[in-house]
Amino acid sequence: MTYQPQADFGTPESRSTEQVTLTIDGRPVTVPAGTSVMRAAAEIECSIPKLCATDSLESFGSCRLCLVEIDGRRGTPASCTTPAENGMVVHTQTPHLQKLRKGVMELYISDHPLDCLTCAANGDCELQEQAGAVGLRDVRYPVEATHLGQAKDQSNPYFDFDPSKCIACSRCIRACDEVQGTLALTMQGRGFDSKISPGLASENFMSSECVSCGACVQACPTATLVEKNVVEIGTPDRSVVTTCAYCGVGCTFRAEMRGEQLVRMVPWKDGKANHGHSCVKGRFAWGYAQHAERITKPMIRDRIDQPWREVSWEEALGFAAARFTAIKADYGAGALGGITSSRCTNEETYLVQKLVRAGFGSNNVDTCARVCHSPTGYGLNKTFGTSAGTQDFDSVDDSDVILVIGANPTDAHPVFGSHMKRRLRGLDGRPAAKLIVIDPRRTDLVRSPHIEADHHLALRPGTNVAVLTAMAHVIVTEGLADEAFIRERCDWEEYQDWAEFVSLPTNSPENLSVVTQVPAETLRAAARLYANGGNAAIYYGLGVTEHSQGSSTVIAIANLAMATGNIGRRGVGVNPLRGQNNVQGSCDMGSFPHELPGYRHISNAETRALFEKDWGVTLHPEPGLRIPNMLDAAVDGTFRALYVQGEDILQSDPNTHHVAAGLAAMDCVIVHDLFLNETANYAHVFLPGSSFLEKDGTFTNAERRIQLVRKVMTPVNGMADWEVTQALANAMGFGWNYTHPSEIMDEIARLTPSFAGVSFDRLDKEGSLQWPVNDAAPDGSPIMHVDGFVRGKGKFVVTDYIPTEEKTGPRFPLLLTTGRILSQYNVGAQTRRTENSMWHGEDRLEIHPIDAEDRGIRTDDWVKLASRAGETTLRALVTDRVAPGVVYTTFHHPDTQANVVTTDFSDWATNCPEYKVTAVQVGASNGPTDWQRDYDEQARQSRRIATIEAEAAE
């Protein structure tokens, strides 16, 4: 088979409900008003030649190949820019049109290298295809001037730019503008001198503003912008649609393959979360799956100071099962536990919690959501009745006001960030949405090309609740609350209690500005805009949850949405931006110690009975231990064995010293991962994991959208992760016999009402489903709480602002907050093993010029970052993105170990760590701290793998 790209209709779909009927080449066609003649023709499989048009971009009309004749109209209009009209009679192929197209193509080819056979786009080139389509047979021009022989720009690690092959269609420039919204590309010069340029003429792709999202490469019709992999390997010959394993947006891609070799990941146009867009991670940074450091053989060791020993699966599983069984016998089921992964599939996560509950016999199961979105689950469940966001991503298209708090979507959720920016720029032709950003740092949404927040509330870290309460104060005291909505949908008594509380003079913006540092007028203006500006939607991230008052903040957000009636329809809602690909799914699957799948409390006998019957076991009725409690118990000697699937708690959890001590105290730690991660330094059994490319299953994204992950290649470790968990269960004698993840999903659907209608068959046919999918919502639920709250009446909960105990003082005068950057992902285990490190090779400490000046710190200087918990060193970046008194860093690199510095403080309700606020001091430094040096040595020792053959030979 030859390469088949996705069909391209030339211009975007029209959303109009009005239909028009026209005749194209004698055939009638009916399309929505506003559809171009080109697209209307494509609907009846009449492909009008085109080069500058592609259906991800607005029509441009520059290539002049798509000219048509229309009865009653003069000349030869371009079909891409001419809207279809009722009664129009269009001719797409006439002798004159034929001659014109040949004439245009002859000009193109007069300035194009004729190296098709050795060109990377051979077989996947629109110019080549259209030259054939118009029947060009000869270039008659006595050519002198050309653009051939220009130097290639190969600076980007993933794609090349060869200007000699450029046909100046501007598709790349428009993609950067309309799809991505970065506007990194431009056209230099004019006329014959027109040349695509990343930024200034002196720049290359790497030095420019380009964020390497791949939209330009995707849009390019020739080999001008082409993936290095395609240059290296050639065109793919088959494709499999699957779901990205990075952030919670859940982009779907066509994994384009040649044999079992992945050639490239191309965003899938029919993907409902990404609509054909991608970011540098999902599009390009999948090379970690084949990285040399990936461990493909099981390994064991008796003690963690020994080198690893590679063994067979049987031996490793037998070793692990024996130890776990023995520990259970000696110390009881409560000494055993497991951690599920938000990077693994729903089915795999489900199996791990099932292994813990049904196999180990404890409820000691927790997940990495503990350290990110556990307050979301708590807060939204409490107020609305479901632990999930209320909207789908497309809902933002109907928003008039967007409030972003504690989230940085253009870096952490870039594809949705781009979607949001389109609405903020009004690219859909409707008035642009207004924007409120509540963030201590000046993120790109606050100000970047064509984007400017109407209000930026640069609050002091740790004062979210105070800011939201002050907003509620304005809304209630200025009479902006939607009382009709509240009376109909919420508990009126509870509302009145809440309204009385927020109306207290102590909660006024004027009064609270002392703690929040947000000017009262700015806050009042933002509150009025949120309440009065039409459809208002709130998007939030870890800047909300990772605080000692994380759950309170989520509740305060829910209160605001209810008070203003911004819930239950498109364009509004409360939207947590989930950090990991399947953090929603891992929470849904019963990963928390107190909940069975579907957020049903373990203490509920009825629910337990359902599972007990299906699983054939008796379940413990009490909630198990959370991660920090497991570690505490380990230090105390009562918790002794842990199975960790796909998570690196040593790097991702707070107070690294404490985590290390807990792990070191355990008798048996099983790490099931792709790499020898930091946690594996304390493990006794290493079970090699499989990447998302090597297994079937499902991920659930931030909009509750369940999408299929499809196996595109054989696992290099031999088994998919669900198979490994099953093998471990069976080694312990539990007798599981799943033959495919679809059977696991069938079990989930059988036992979980909100998943009742979900099956692999349906997902395969329909692309995706948003839970709940059940009798009440057979096709899923893009928007929740439409006719009323899931819990019945929406519940207002008073959220009193309680300052964190983490306070600045003379020794630690600055507040550290943490976040992510576009090119890296969480602890970096994946992205650090790709060329993405070219953009972000180390974590840097952002510090305001005034604070830097006081300390004699310049950009690039090594600085020591110290808190009450510990200290580390990294290099400084002096910038006014952060306010005076605030410093900021990312946490992608293990050698920085930002979590050595973070404290034990955590959310009062869920123990979600307070990553976003740490009192610190910053000073000049010569290099790494003692801890960093010791840690490096320990890690080096711990990662040794014995070369058995060599030893035997001695």
């Binding site: 290539c63 002049r64 004439g103 000009l107 006595p142 501007s170 056209m187 006329g191």
Partner: protein, 500 residues
Amino acid sequence: MNTQKSIVRISDDALALALGADKLAAAFEKAGASVERVSSWGMHWLEPLVEIDGIGYGNAVPGDVAAILAGTAPSIGRIEEHPFIAGQQRLTFARAGKTRPLSLEDYAATGGWVGLEKAKQMAADEIVQEVTASGLRGRGGAGFPAGIKWDTVRKARSDQKYIVCNADEGDSGTFADRMVMEGDPYMLIEGMAIAGLAVGADKGYVYIRSEYPHAIAKMHAAARHCAHIIAPFSVEIRVGAGAYVCGEETSLLNSIEGRRGEVRAKPPLPALKGLFGKPTVINNLLTLAAIPWIMNKGGKAYADYGMGRSRGTIPVQIAGNVKYGGLYETAFGIPLGDLVETIGGGTASGRPVRAAQVGGPLGAYVPVEQFHLPFDYEAFAAVDALIGHAGITVFDDSVDMAKMARFALEFCAAESCGKCTPCRLGSTRGVEVMDQIIAGREVEKNLGLIEDLSDTMKFGSLCALGGFTPYPVMSAIKYFPEDFKHRDFTRETERAGEDA
């Protein structure tokens, strides 16, 4: 001599300045005369032209001051009776030569603001009806009826609409826009304010090419001085950056928006989605400048001038190798030959006229055999020619039409925005092919190629820059084939010798 001292009137139009009008004015002042700087009469071959009590003294230099003041210098007689002036029907240029450009008094005293006052008393659709009744068509070249365009904008629903004046007068041999801006700026602003009332726009932009510094300065001053009169309408002056293509309306809008001066595909029409995406009247300067007269005297009175579907008057700009170059406003219908031979007086070189290019660098070359053509949009279109912005450039018999054809393509290559392929690549390829023809290589084959290329550019280009370039090229080949097919290489060599 009268006891009351006469006023010496000298133009401060850029053309007069270039010919020494400032020095001349200074000399008069030094001699004790009281000098008024006025607009230009538009008789360019006579500048600097001095007027005292209606009597004109042409081509004056400082050395003539004493004689002029003494009444002993040779005069051209009463200026208004000069045949070049007397033969015109000046509606738009009624004030030319007579008023001080920035004087609100002079403007008001000569019928200024009457049209605006009338418009203020009318409903928006009545204003549009008046313009429609006048038969006024766009003076930028396309000749689209102004009333219809205005009505489209009037009917468009939007929170904001704009009036944009295209004053990016880039055609070689044209200067009428410049003369209005430098000589009668309030008239233009009044026209824009009336347009604003007609369509519901409160903001206007005048986009002026950067090569017109005097016009830019005058328009800035005028917009400031009359702000209180046109309020709530306001006018902002924007200056181009040297691109010919920004005279194309959609490129112009992009340029005002701060974007690359690149043509936009239509639809959407600017009338519905124009400046900053809002409904916009974008008219040529001469179109807007005709409005105050139309509102003052009525659409019917305007429509009484002209022929066929070309109603009213057209300010013709006579330039090139011509004896009497200047601004000649006349009703449509005048034969081209009259403008070149009679009014223009034939060539300045004294050699026989060979061709006239009408409508700027993208207009067709009209041979003498077609000089009977009446100045009328349809009559010109019928012979593949165009009126454009009504500039006429005259050539004598020494012109090499192959080189003129090459020049048209070269001009297109230099000015192409680069968006559409026929213009971006076709213009450069055209120059290369013309070079082959001029060198006598495979002339028949290459002429065939030029013909095909012209067809591609004419029907394939996104805007008139690429689309009209074939007019001068193909008209030169059609009417002067001898310059292409049987080139006289001895003459070529002689010329080369002369150049050396």
